[in-house]
Protein backbone atom coordinates (compact mmCIF):
# COMPACT_ATOMS: atom_id res chain seq x y z
CA UNK A 1 0.00 0.00 0.00
CA UNK A 2 1.21 3.46 -0.73
CA UNK A 3 -0.02 6.76 0.49
CA UNK A 4 -1.53 8.96 -2.15
CA UNK A 5 1.29 11.38 -1.55
CA UNK A 6 3.75 8.81 -2.82
CA UNK A 7 5.34 7.99 0.50
CA UNK A 8 5.40 4.23 1.03
CA UNK A 9 3.95 2.99 4.24
CA UNK A 10 6.36 1.44 6.70
CA UNK A 11 5.32 -2.10 5.87
CA UNK A 12 5.75 -1.57 2.18
CA UNK A 13 9.02 0.19 2.76
CA UNK A 14 10.16 -2.80 4.76
CA UNK A 15 9.10 -5.25 2.07
CA UNK A 16 10.76 -3.26 -0.67
CA UNK A 17 13.91 -3.12 1.36
CA UNK A 18 13.66 -6.79 2.06
CA UNK A 19 13.21 -7.80 -1.57
CA UNK A 20 15.88 -5.47 -2.85
CA UNK A 21 18.46 -5.98 -0.16
CA UNK A 22 18.12 -9.52 1.18
CA UNK A 23 20.79 -10.87 -1.12
CA UNK A 24 23.14 -7.97 -0.48
CA UNK A 25 22.74 -8.26 3.27
CA UNK A 26 23.21 -12.01 3.10
CA UNK A 27 26.46 -11.49 1.22
CA UNK A 28 27.46 -8.75 3.62
CA UNK A 29 27.00 -11.09 6.56
CA UNK A 30 28.66 -13.96 4.74
CA UNK A 31 31.77 -11.87 4.12
CA UNK A 32 32.10 -11.04 7.77
CA UNK A 33 31.17 -14.28 9.45
CA UNK A 34 34.24 -15.97 10.76
CA UNK A 35 32.58 -18.93 12.40
CA UNK A 36 31.44 -20.63 9.25
CA UNK A 37 28.37 -20.26 7.15
CA UNK A 38 25.88 -22.12 9.27
CA UNK A 39 24.82 -19.10 11.23
CA UNK A 40 24.48 -16.72 8.32
CA UNK A 41 20.74 -17.28 7.71
CA UNK A 42 20.01 -16.68 11.38
CA UNK A 43 22.09 -13.54 11.50
CA UNK A 44 20.43 -12.23 8.36
CA UNK A 45 17.05 -13.07 9.86
CA UNK A 46 17.98 -11.13 12.97
CA UNK A 47 18.92 -8.14 10.83
CA UNK A 48 15.50 -8.13 9.22
CA UNK A 49 13.71 -8.64 12.53
CA UNK A 50 15.42 -5.50 13.77
CA UNK A 51 14.48 -3.71 10.56
CA UNK A 52 10.91 -4.92 10.88
CA UNK A 53 10.64 -3.65 14.40
CA UNK A 54 11.98 -0.32 13.31
CA UNK A 55 10.14 -0.13 10.03
CA UNK A 56 8.69 3.23 10.95
CA UNK A 57 12.12 4.77 10.92
CA UNK A 58 13.46 3.11 7.78
CA UNK A 59 14.61 6.01 5.62
CA UNK A 60 13.30 6.50 2.11
CA UNK A 61 15.32 4.90 -0.68
CA UNK A 62 18.15 4.94 -1.37
CA UNK A 63 19.11 5.69 2.23
CA UNK A 64 17.16 2.66 3.45
CA UNK A 65 19.74 0.28 2.06
CA UNK A 66 22.55 2.06 3.86
CA UNK A 67 20.52 2.14 7.05
CA UNK A 68 20.11 -1.62 6.71
CA UNK A 69 23.85 -2.04 6.35
CA UNK A 70 24.20 -0.13 9.59
CA UNK A 71 21.77 -2.49 11.30
CA UNK A 72 23.59 -5.51 9.89
CA UNK A 73 26.87 -4.12 11.09
CA UNK A 74 25.63 -3.84 14.64
CA UNK A 75 23.87 -7.20 14.64
CA UNK A 76 27.08 -8.77 13.39
CA UNK A 77 29.09 -7.03 16.05
CA UNK A 78 26.85 -8.53 18.65
CA UNK A 79 27.10 -11.91 16.98
CA UNK A 80 30.87 -11.75 17.03
CA UNK A 81 30.76 -11.15 20.75
CA UNK A 82 28.78 -14.31 21.19
CA UNK A 83 31.03 -16.53 19.14
CA UNK A 84 33.69 -18.02 21.29
CA UNK A 85 37.34 -17.92 20.47
CA UNK A 86 37.32 -21.66 20.05
CA UNK A 87 34.55 -21.52 17.47
CA UNK A 88 36.40 -18.88 15.50
CA UNK A 89 39.52 -21.00 15.52
CA UNK A 90 37.65 -24.07 14.35
CA UNK A 91 36.08 -22.12 11.54
CA UNK A 92 39.41 -20.75 10.47
CA UNK A 93 40.93 -24.21 10.43
CA UNK A 94 38.04 -25.43 8.30
CA UNK A 95 38.56 -22.59 5.87
CA UNK A 96 42.26 -23.23 5.62
CA UNK A 97 41.79 -26.94 5.15
CA UNK A 98 39.39 -26.38 2.29
CA UNK A 99 41.74 -24.15 0.33
CA UNK A 100 43.33 -26.09 -2.49
CA UNK A 101 43.59 -24.65 -5.98
CA UNK A 102 46.28 -22.12 -6.74
CA UNK A 103 43.80 -19.36 -7.39
CA UNK A 104 42.13 -20.11 -4.09
CA UNK A 105 45.46 -19.77 -2.37
CA UNK A 106 45.85 -16.36 -3.87
CA UNK A 107 42.38 -15.42 -2.74
CA UNK A 108 43.03 -16.88 0.67
CA UNK A 109 46.16 -14.80 0.98
CA UNK A 110 44.24 -11.72 0.04
CA UNK A 111 41.45 -12.52 2.49
CA UNK A 112 43.92 -13.13 5.26
CA UNK A 113 45.67 -9.89 4.46
CA UNK A 114 42.34 -8.11 4.54
CA UNK A 115 41.57 -9.78 7.85
CA UNK A 116 44.81 -8.47 9.28
CA UNK A 117 44.00 -4.87 8.42
CA UNK A 118 43.08 -2.66 11.29
CA UNK A 119 39.32 -2.84 11.82
CA UNK A 120 38.50 0.55 10.36
CA UNK A 121 40.53 -0.13 7.23
CA UNK A 122 39.10 -3.61 6.91
CA UNK A 123 35.48 -2.57 7.14
CA UNK A 124 35.88 0.38 4.82
CA UNK A 125 37.67 -1.71 2.23
CA UNK A 126 35.11 -4.49 2.38
CA UNK A 127 32.22 -2.08 2.00
CA UNK A 128 33.73 -0.57 -1.13
CA UNK A 129 35.56 -3.51 -2.72
CA UNK A 130 33.17 -6.34 -1.91
CA UNK A 131 29.83 -4.83 -1.00
CA UNK A 132 30.04 -2.46 -3.92
CA UNK A 133 29.25 0.72 -2.06
CA UNK A 134 30.46 4.04 -3.34
CA UNK A 135 32.63 6.18 -1.13
CA UNK A 136 29.62 8.34 -0.33
CA UNK A 137 27.54 5.33 0.63
CA UNK A 138 30.30 3.81 2.71
CA UNK A 139 30.69 7.11 4.50
CA UNK A 140 26.98 7.04 5.34
CA UNK A 141 27.24 3.53 6.75
CA UNK A 142 30.36 4.25 8.73
CA UNK A 143 29.35 7.67 9.88
CA UNK A 144 32.42 9.44 8.55
CA UNK A 145 33.28 11.84 5.77
CA UNK A 146 33.65 10.80 2.14
CA UNK A 147 37.19 12.05 2.22
CA UNK A 148 37.93 9.84 5.22
CA UNK A 149 36.69 6.84 3.25
CA UNK A 150 38.91 7.69 0.29
CA UNK A 151 41.94 8.13 2.49
CA UNK A 152 41.21 4.92 4.38
CA UNK A 153 40.81 2.94 1.17
CA UNK A 154 44.06 4.32 -0.14
CA UNK A 155 45.93 3.37 3.00
CA UNK A 156 44.27 -0.03 3.25
CA UNK A 157 45.25 -0.94 -0.27
CA UNK A 158 48.77 0.24 0.25
CA UNK A 159 49.04 -1.92 3.33
CA UNK A 160 47.57 -4.91 1.49
CA UNK A 161 50.04 -4.56 -1.34
CA UNK A 162 52.90 -4.37 1.07
CA UNK A 163 51.72 -7.44 2.96
CA UNK A 164 51.12 -9.48 -0.16
CA UNK A 165 54.45 -8.63 -1.64
CA UNK A 166 56.16 -9.79 1.52
CA UNK A 167 54.25 -12.90 2.40
CA UNK A 168 53.07 -14.49 -0.80
CA UNK A 169 52.02 -16.91 -2.10
CA UNK A 170 49.74 -14.52 -3.88
CA UNK A 171 50.40 -13.43 -7.41
CA UNK A 172 52.61 -10.60 -8.29
CA UNK A 173 50.78 -7.48 -7.46
CA UNK A 174 50.95 -4.84 -10.09
CA UNK A 175 51.35 -1.29 -9.02
CA UNK A 176 47.82 -0.28 -9.71
CA UNK A 177 46.57 3.08 -8.59
CA UNK A 178 44.71 2.39 -5.40
CA UNK A 179 42.29 5.27 -5.35
CA UNK A 180 38.91 3.73 -5.99
CA UNK A 181 36.66 5.90 -8.00
CA UNK A 182 33.24 6.94 -6.92
CA UNK A 183 30.59 4.67 -8.30
Amino acid sequence: MQHAGGTPEPVERFHTLYENCYQAIYAYVLRRTTAGHDDVPDIVAEVFVVAWRRRHVIPEPPAGRLWLYGVARRVLRNYERRVSRRQRLEARLREEASAAPADDLAYLSMREAVARLRPRYRETLRLVAWDGLSHTEAAAVLGCSVNAVAVTIHRAKAQLKKELSQTGPGPAVASVPSSASES
Partner: protein
Protein backbone atom coordinates in the same frame (compact mmCIF):
# COMPACT_ATOMS: atom_id res chain seq x y z
CA UNK B 1 46.19 -10.94 -12.09
CA UNK B 2 46.37 -7.33 -11.00
CA UNK B 3 45.75 -6.16 -7.49
CA UNK B 4 42.28 -4.77 -8.06
CA UNK B 5 41.09 -7.95 -9.75
CA UNK B 6 42.56 -10.12 -7.02
CA UNK B 7 40.98 -7.98 -4.35
CA UNK B 8 37.60 -8.11 -6.06
CA UNK B 9 37.73 -11.83 -6.73
CA UNK B 10 38.87 -12.63 -3.22
CA UNK B 11 35.39 -11.66 -2.06
CA UNK B 12 34.30 -14.68 0.01
CA UNK B 13 30.76 -14.27 -1.18
CA UNK B 14 31.70 -14.69 -4.85
CA UNK B 15 32.08 -18.44 -4.54
CA UNK B 16 28.86 -18.89 -2.64
CA UNK B 17 25.38 -19.06 -4.08
CA UNK B 18 23.84 -16.27 -2.07
CA UNK B 19 20.13 -16.96 -1.69
CA UNK B 20 17.72 -14.42 -3.04
CA UNK B 21 14.68 -12.98 -1.35
CA UNK B 22 12.50 -15.85 -2.60
CA UNK B 23 14.70 -18.56 -1.11
CA UNK B 24 13.55 -20.70 1.81
CA UNK B 25 16.12 -19.00 4.05
CA UNK B 26 14.78 -15.62 3.06
CA UNK B 27 11.21 -16.69 3.63
CA UNK B 28 12.16 -18.05 7.03
CA UNK B 29 13.76 -14.71 7.84
CA UNK B 30 10.67 -12.88 6.79
CA UNK B 31 8.45 -15.18 8.76
CA UNK B 32 10.60 -14.53 11.78
CA UNK B 33 9.52 -10.94 11.45
CA UNK B 34 5.90 -12.01 11.31
CA UNK B 35 6.41 -14.21 14.32
CA UNK B 36 7.95 -11.32 16.11
CA UNK B 37 4.95 -9.16 15.33
CA UNK B 38 2.48 -11.85 16.21
CA UNK B 39 4.16 -12.26 19.49
CA UNK B 40 3.56 -8.70 20.48
CA UNK B 41 0.51 -7.38 22.12
CA UNK B 42 1.41 -4.11 20.47
CA UNK B 43 -0.19 -4.77 17.16
CA UNK B 44 -0.54 -1.11 16.42
CA UNK B 45 2.60 0.27 14.88
CA UNK B 46 3.39 2.87 17.43
CA UNK B 47 6.90 4.12 17.41
CA UNK B 48 6.88 4.23 21.16
CA UNK B 49 6.03 0.58 21.19
CA UNK B 50 8.88 -0.33 18.95
CA UNK B 51 11.42 1.25 21.16
CA UNK B 52 10.20 -1.10 23.81
CA UNK B 53 10.05 -3.94 21.33
CA UNK B 54 13.63 -3.39 20.39
CA UNK B 55 14.49 -4.15 23.95
CA UNK B 56 12.55 -7.37 23.89
CA UNK B 57 13.92 -10.27 25.81
CA UNK B 58 14.88 -12.25 22.73
CA UNK B 59 17.95 -14.14 23.68
CA UNK B 60 20.89 -13.38 21.46
CA UNK B 61 21.82 -17.00 21.34
CA UNK B 62 18.48 -18.31 20.25
CA UNK B 63 17.72 -19.29 16.74
CA UNK B 64 14.91 -17.35 15.26
CA UNK B 65 11.80 -19.40 15.12
CA UNK B 66 10.21 -19.50 11.69
CA UNK B 67 6.50 -19.96 11.57
CA UNK B 68 4.94 -23.03 10.13
CA UNK B 69 4.26 -23.04 6.43
CA UNK B 70 1.59 -20.68 5.37
CA UNK B 71 2.90 -17.72 7.23
CA UNK B 72 2.09 -15.24 4.57
CA UNK B 73 3.76 -11.98 4.93
CA UNK B 74 1.62 -9.68 3.19
CA UNK B 75 -0.52 -7.70 5.48
CA UNK B 76 1.29 -7.14 8.70
CA UNK B 77 0.45 -4.46 11.08
CA UNK B 78 0.46 -1.00 9.80
CA UNK B 79 -1.32 2.10 10.78
CA UNK B 80 -0.47 5.66 10.57
CA UNK B 81 3.21 6.32 10.64
CA UNK B 82 3.79 7.25 14.18
CA UNK B 83 5.52 10.48 14.66
CA UNK B 84 7.97 11.80 17.12
CA UNK B 85 9.35 15.22 17.06
CA UNK B 86 12.44 16.73 18.40
CA UNK B 87 11.04 19.12 20.79
CA UNK B 88 11.71 21.35 23.63
CA UNK B 89 12.32 20.20 27.13
CA UNK B 90 9.75 17.88 28.52
CA UNK B 91 6.99 19.74 30.15
CA UNK B 92 4.58 18.60 32.77
CA UNK B 93 2.52 15.58 31.99
CA UNK B 94 -0.95 16.43 30.79
CA UNK B 95 -3.39 13.77 29.79
CA UNK B 96 -6.40 15.64 28.56
CA UNK B 97 -6.51 17.07 32.02
CA UNK B 98 -3.99 19.38 33.57
CA UNK B 99 -2.01 18.84 36.74
CA UNK B 100 -1.49 15.15 36.24
CA UNK B 101 1.97 13.99 36.95
CA UNK B 102 5.07 15.95 37.68
CA UNK B 103 7.47 17.83 35.47
CA UNK B 104 10.19 15.62 34.12
CA UNK B 105 13.59 17.21 34.36
CA UNK B 106 15.54 17.04 31.16
CA UNK B 107 18.10 15.63 30.93
CA UNK B 108 17.10 12.86 33.23
CA UNK B 109 19.88 11.56 35.43
CA UNK B 110 20.64 7.97 34.57
CA UNK B 111 19.09 5.28 36.64
CA UNK B 112 21.18 3.39 39.09
CA UNK B 113 23.19 0.65 37.39
CA UNK B 114 21.76 -2.70 38.24
CA UNK B 115 18.36 -1.33 38.96
CA UNK B 116 15.96 -3.79 37.48
CA UNK B 117 12.51 -2.40 37.91
CA UNK B 118 11.77 1.06 36.67
CA UNK B 119 8.70 1.05 38.83
CA UNK B 120 8.75 1.10 42.56
CA UNK B 121 6.10 -1.16 43.93
CA UNK B 122 4.73 0.73 46.85
CA UNK B 123 2.55 -1.89 48.38
CA UNK B 124 0.38 -4.83 47.74
CA UNK B 125 -3.23 -4.08 46.92
CA UNK B 126 -5.88 -4.56 49.53
CA UNK B 127 -7.73 -7.01 47.37
CA UNK B 128 -5.05 -8.53 45.15
CA UNK B 129 -6.31 -10.06 41.99
CA UNK B 130 -9.36 -7.87 41.60
CA UNK B 131 -8.03 -5.80 38.76
CA UNK B 132 -11.55 -5.37 37.43
CA UNK B 133 -12.59 -3.53 40.58
CA UNK B 134 -9.63 -1.21 40.24
CA UNK B 135 -10.53 -0.41 36.64
CA UNK B 136 -14.13 0.27 37.59
CA UNK B 137 -13.00 2.76 40.24
CA UNK B 138 -10.75 4.43 37.70
CA UNK B 139 -13.70 4.63 35.32
CA UNK B 140 -15.74 6.50 37.89
CA UNK B 141 -12.97 9.01 38.35
CA UNK B 142 -12.43 9.39 34.62
CA UNK B 143 -16.10 10.14 34.09
CA UNK B 144 -15.91 13.06 36.50
CA UNK B 145 -13.04 14.81 34.70
CA UNK B 146 -13.48 17.91 32.56
CA UNK B 147 -13.56 17.47 28.80
CA UNK B 148 -10.34 18.18 26.92
CA UNK B 149 -10.34 21.47 25.03
CA UNK B 150 -10.28 19.70 21.67
CA UNK B 151 -10.24 16.18 20.25
CA UNK B 152 -8.58 16.86 16.91
CA UNK B 153 -7.77 17.17 14.13
CA UNK B 154 -4.21 16.19 15.02
CA UNK B 155 -3.25 14.04 17.99
CA UNK B 156 -0.09 14.94 19.75
CA UNK B 157 1.76 12.63 22.11
CA UNK B 158 4.86 13.39 24.05
CA UNK B 159 6.47 10.60 26.00
CA UNK B 160 9.59 9.91 27.96
CA UNK B 161 11.10 6.50 27.48
CA UNK B 162 13.60 4.92 29.80
CA UNK B 163 15.49 1.90 28.67
CA UNK B 164 16.25 -0.73 31.20
CA UNK B 165 19.55 -2.27 31.98
CA UNK B 166 19.97 -4.03 28.68
CA UNK B 167 22.74 -6.31 29.76
CA UNK B 168 24.09 -8.95 27.43
CA UNK B 169 20.84 -10.09 25.83
CA UNK B 170 20.63 -7.28 23.38
CA UNK B 171 21.34 -6.78 19.75
CA UNK B 172 24.44 -4.75 20.37
CA UNK B 173 22.90 -1.87 18.50
CA UNK B 174 24.83 0.65 20.50
CA UNK B 175 21.86 1.42 22.64
CA UNK B 176 22.90 2.53 26.02
CA UNK B 177 21.58 0.82 29.09
CA UNK B 178 19.02 3.01 30.77
CA UNK B 179 18.90 5.07 27.62
CA UNK B 180 16.52 7.96 27.95
CA UNK B 181 14.72 9.75 25.19
CA UNK B 182 11.87 12.13 24.64
CA UNK B 183 9.58 11.10 21.81
CA UNK B 184 7.06 13.36 20.18
CA UNK B 185 4.42 12.26 17.78
CA UNK B 186 1.92 14.19 15.68
CA UNK B 187 -0.70 12.17 13.86
CA UNK B 188 -3.12 13.87 11.55
CA UNK B 189 -5.48 12.66 8.85
CA UNK B 190 -3.04 13.53 6.06
CA UNK B 191 0.33 13.85 7.73
CA UNK B 192 2.39 12.61 10.59
CA UNK B 193 5.63 13.63 12.20
CA UNK B 194 7.92 11.80 14.59
CA UNK B 195 10.89 13.20 16.43
CA UNK B 196 13.08 11.54 19.02
CA UNK B 197 15.37 13.58 21.19
CA UNK B 198 18.26 12.32 23.27
CA UNK B 199 19.45 14.35 26.21
CA UNK B 200 23.07 14.26 25.17
CA UNK B 201 22.24 15.00 21.55
CA UNK B 202 23.78 11.78 20.36
CA UNK B 203 21.46 9.80 18.13
CA UNK B 204 22.24 6.09 18.27
CA UNK B 205 23.06 4.46 14.94
CA UNK B 206 20.04 3.10 13.16
CA UNK B 207 17.71 5.71 14.62
CA UNK B 208 16.15 8.26 12.34
CA UNK B 209 15.31 11.03 14.79
CA UNK B 210 12.99 13.01 12.53
CA UNK B 211 10.46 11.51 10.16
CA UNK B 212 7.59 13.26 8.45
CA UNK B 213 5.03 11.62 6.18
CA UNK B 214 2.23 13.17 4.17
CA UNK B 215 -0.44 11.82 1.88
CA UNK B 216 -3.26 13.29 -0.14
CA UNK B 217 -6.27 11.39 1.12
CA UNK B 218 -7.21 11.06 4.77
CA UNK B 219 -5.75 7.94 6.21
CA UNK B 220 -8.38 5.32 7.16
CA UNK B 221 -6.87 4.66 10.56
CA UNK B 222 -7.16 8.24 11.74
CA UNK B 223 -10.66 8.50 10.31
CA UNK B 224 -11.77 5.33 12.08
CA UNK B 225 -10.14 6.41 15.33
CA UNK B 226 -11.69 9.83 15.53
CA UNK B 227 -12.23 10.25 19.30
CA UNK B 228 -15.04 12.73 18.71
CA UNK B 229 -17.24 9.96 17.34
CA UNK B 230 -16.59 7.41 20.06
CA UNK B 231 -19.56 5.89 21.87
CA UNK B 232 -19.50 5.75 25.64
CA UNK B 233 -20.99 2.44 26.70
CA UNK B 234 -18.75 -0.61 26.98
CA UNK B 235 -20.89 -2.64 24.57
CA UNK B 236 -20.93 0.07 21.92
CA UNK B 237 -17.22 0.67 22.33
CA UNK B 238 -16.56 -3.01 21.87
CA UNK B 239 -18.59 -3.06 18.67
CA UNK B 240 -16.81 0.03 17.48
CA UNK B 241 -13.35 -1.43 18.07
CA UNK B 242 -14.22 -4.69 16.38
CA UNK B 243 -15.80 -2.93 13.45
CA UNK B 244 -12.39 -1.48 12.72
CA UNK B 245 -10.36 -4.53 13.68
CA UNK B 246 -12.41 -6.76 11.41
CA UNK B 247 -12.99 -4.27 8.60
CA UNK B 248 -11.37 -4.70 5.19
CA UNK B 249 -9.78 -1.27 5.62
CA UNK B 250 -7.68 -2.53 8.42
CA UNK B 251 -4.61 -4.24 7.11
CA UNK B 252 -3.95 -5.57 10.59
CA UNK B 253 -6.23 -8.52 11.12
CA UNK B 254 -6.56 -9.26 14.81
CA UNK B 255 -4.37 -12.11 15.92
CA UNK B 256 -5.40 -12.16 19.52
CA UNK B 257 -8.59 -13.49 21.05
CA UNK B 258 -11.12 -10.81 20.28
CA UNK B 259 -11.64 -9.79 23.89
CA UNK B 260 -7.95 -9.27 24.30
CA UNK B 261 -7.85 -7.39 21.04
CA UNK B 262 -10.53 -5.07 22.38
CA UNK B 263 -8.55 -4.55 25.59
CA UNK B 264 -5.50 -3.57 23.57
CA UNK B 265 -7.60 -1.28 21.42
CA UNK B 266 -8.72 0.62 24.48
CA UNK B 267 -5.15 0.98 25.73
CA UNK B 268 -4.09 2.16 22.28
CA UNK B 269 -6.69 4.91 22.31
CA UNK B 270 -5.57 6.03 25.73
CA UNK B 271 -1.97 6.31 24.72
CA UNK B 272 -2.57 8.02 21.39
CA UNK B 273 -5.55 10.30 21.60
CA UNK B 274 -7.31 12.83 23.73
CA UNK B 275 -10.58 11.31 24.87
CA UNK B 276 -13.93 12.59 26.07
CA UNK B 277 -14.34 11.70 29.75
CA UNK B 278 -17.36 9.51 29.08
CA UNK B 279 -15.54 7.57 26.40
CA UNK B 280 -12.52 7.05 28.64
CA UNK B 281 -14.78 5.88 31.44
CA UNK B 282 -16.54 3.54 29.04
CA UNK B 283 -13.24 2.09 27.92
CA UNK B 284 -12.13 1.48 31.48
CA UNK B 285 -15.41 -0.29 32.21
CA UNK B 286 -15.02 -2.29 29.03
CA UNK B 287 -11.54 -3.28 30.15
CA UNK B 288 -12.87 -4.16 33.59
CA UNK B 289 -15.36 -6.53 32.02
CA UNK B 290 -12.64 -8.25 30.02
CA UNK B 291 -10.38 -8.45 33.05
CA UNK B 292 -13.15 -10.08 35.04
CA UNK B 293 -13.45 -12.83 32.45
CA UNK B 294 -10.07 -12.93 30.77
CA UNK B 295 -9.48 -14.75 27.53
CA UNK B 296 -7.78 -18.10 27.74
CA UNK B 297 -4.04 -18.01 28.43
CA UNK B 298 -4.20 -14.42 29.61
CA UNK B 299 -4.32 -13.11 33.11
CA UNK B 300 -4.73 -9.70 34.64
CA UNK B 301 -3.39 -8.83 38.04
CA UNK B 302 -3.94 -5.93 40.37
CA UNK B 303 -0.53 -4.55 41.20
CA UNK B 304 -1.62 -1.70 43.40
CA UNK B 305 0.17 1.56 44.02
CA UNK B 306 3.41 2.23 42.17
CA UNK B 307 5.84 5.07 41.69
CA UNK B 308 7.43 5.40 38.31
CA UNK B 309 10.94 6.42 37.46
CA UNK B 310 9.89 10.04 37.20
CA UNK B 311 8.54 9.89 40.72
CA UNK B 312 4.98 9.83 39.51
CA UNK B 313 2.44 7.96 41.65
CA UNK B 314 0.15 5.60 39.86
CA UNK B 315 -2.05 2.59 40.16
CA UNK B 316 -1.07 -0.40 38.11
CA UNK B 317 -2.70 -3.28 36.30
CA UNK B 318 -0.58 -6.10 34.95
CA UNK B 319 -1.49 -8.05 31.88
CA UNK B 320 0.24 -11.40 31.63
CA UNK B 321 0.68 -13.39 28.47
CA UNK B 322 2.36 -16.75 28.49
CA UNK B 323 5.27 -16.80 26.13
CA UNK B 324 7.06 -19.40 24.13
CA UNK B 325 10.81 -19.58 24.54
CA UNK B 326 10.79 -16.19 26.09
CA UNK B 327 9.12 -14.55 23.13
CA UNK B 328 5.94 -12.65 23.43
CA UNK B 329 3.81 -15.30 21.82
CA UNK B 330 0.84 -17.13 23.06
CA UNK B 331 1.77 -20.51 24.26
CA UNK B 332 1.18 -23.03 26.96
CA UNK B 333 0.40 -21.88 30.44
CA UNK B 334 3.45 -22.26 32.57
CA UNK B 335 5.84 -21.16 29.91
CA UNK B 336 7.84 -18.02 30.50
CA UNK B 337 5.56 -15.04 30.61
CA UNK B 338 5.45 -11.57 29.26
CA UNK B 339 4.08 -8.96 31.61
CA UNK B 340 2.87 -5.53 30.62
CA UNK B 341 2.14 -3.17 33.47
CA UNK B 342 -0.20 -0.30 32.61
CA UNK B 343 -0.04 2.58 35.06
CA UNK B 344 -3.03 4.82 35.54
CA UNK B 345 -3.45 8.15 37.26
CA UNK B 346 -5.44 7.31 40.37
CA UNK B 347 -7.08 10.73 40.31
CA UNK B 348 -8.23 10.87 36.69
CA UNK B 349 -8.05 7.38 35.24
CA UNK B 350 -5.67 8.61 32.53
CA UNK B 351 -2.96 6.27 31.32
CA UNK B 352 0.34 7.47 32.74
CA UNK B 353 2.70 4.93 31.33
CA UNK B 354 3.60 1.35 30.82
CA UNK B 355 6.35 -1.05 31.67
CA UNK B 356 6.73 -4.24 29.66
CA UNK B 357 8.74 -7.00 31.25
CA UNK B 358 9.89 -10.46 30.37
CA UNK B 359 9.44 -13.06 33.07
CA UNK B 360 11.29 -16.29 33.38
CA UNK B 361 8.33 -18.14 34.83
CA UNK B 362 4.58 -18.01 35.08
CA UNK B 363 3.07 -14.99 36.73
CA UNK B 364 -0.19 -15.62 38.50
CA UNK B 365 -0.16 -13.37 41.51
CA UNK B 366 2.16 -10.48 41.03
CA UNK B 367 4.14 -9.43 44.03
CA UNK B 368 7.19 -7.33 44.58
CA UNK B 369 9.04 -10.57 44.97
CA UNK B 370 7.72 -11.86 41.64
CA UNK B 371 8.77 -8.77 39.77
CA UNK B 372 12.19 -8.55 41.27
CA UNK B 373 12.97 -12.23 41.10
CA UNK B 374 11.59 -13.42 37.81
CA UNK B 375 10.67 -10.40 35.70
CA UNK B 376 13.06 -8.09 33.89
CA UNK B 377 11.46 -4.89 32.61
CA UNK B 378 12.39 -3.85 29.10
CA UNK B 379 11.65 -0.18 29.42
CA UNK B 380 9.37 2.33 30.97
CA UNK B 381 7.30 4.75 28.93
CA UNK B 382 5.73 7.75 30.59
CA UNK B 383 3.11 9.69 28.66
CA UNK B 384 3.78 13.32 29.30
CA UNK B 385 1.22 14.89 27.03
CA UNK B 386 -1.65 13.56 24.98
CA UNK B 387 -3.68 16.32 23.42
CA UNK B 388 -5.21 17.69 20.24
CA UNK B 389 -3.37 20.29 18.20
CA UNK B 390 -4.41 22.18 15.07
CA UNK B 391 -1.85 20.83 12.64
CA UNK B 392 1.21 18.72 12.05
CA UNK B 393 4.19 21.09 12.11
CA UNK B 394 6.94 21.00 9.53
CA UNK B 395 9.85 18.75 10.31
CA UNK B 396 12.48 20.54 12.35
CA UNK B 397 16.01 20.63 11.15
CA UNK B 398 18.44 18.26 12.74
CA UNK B 399 20.00 19.69 15.81
CA UNK B 400 17.18 22.10 16.55
Amino acid sequence: MDFETLLRDADPARAVAVPGSESPAAQAALESCVADERGSRHHRPRALRYVAALRSPTSPGMRLRPLAAGGVLAPIAVGVAAALILGTAAGPATHNHPTVGRPVPFPIPPAQPGLIAALTYDGLPADPGDAAAVLRKLADRAAAQPAPPALGPVWYTKAAVWGSDLGPPHYGLDYRAHEFQIMQDWEGPTASLEVTRYPDGRVPPGIIPISRSAWKKPYPYTLAHNPATLPTTPAALRRRFLSWDLSPSNVVPPRHPLDLQVYFDAVSYMEEEPLPPAARAGMLRLMAGIVAKPPRHTDFVDIGAVTDRAGQPGIAIGEVEPGVQGQRSFGRPGDPSYLTVDIFDPATGALLGEEPAACSGPVTVLTVHTVNEICAPDSYTQYLQIKAVPSVPPAPKRGH
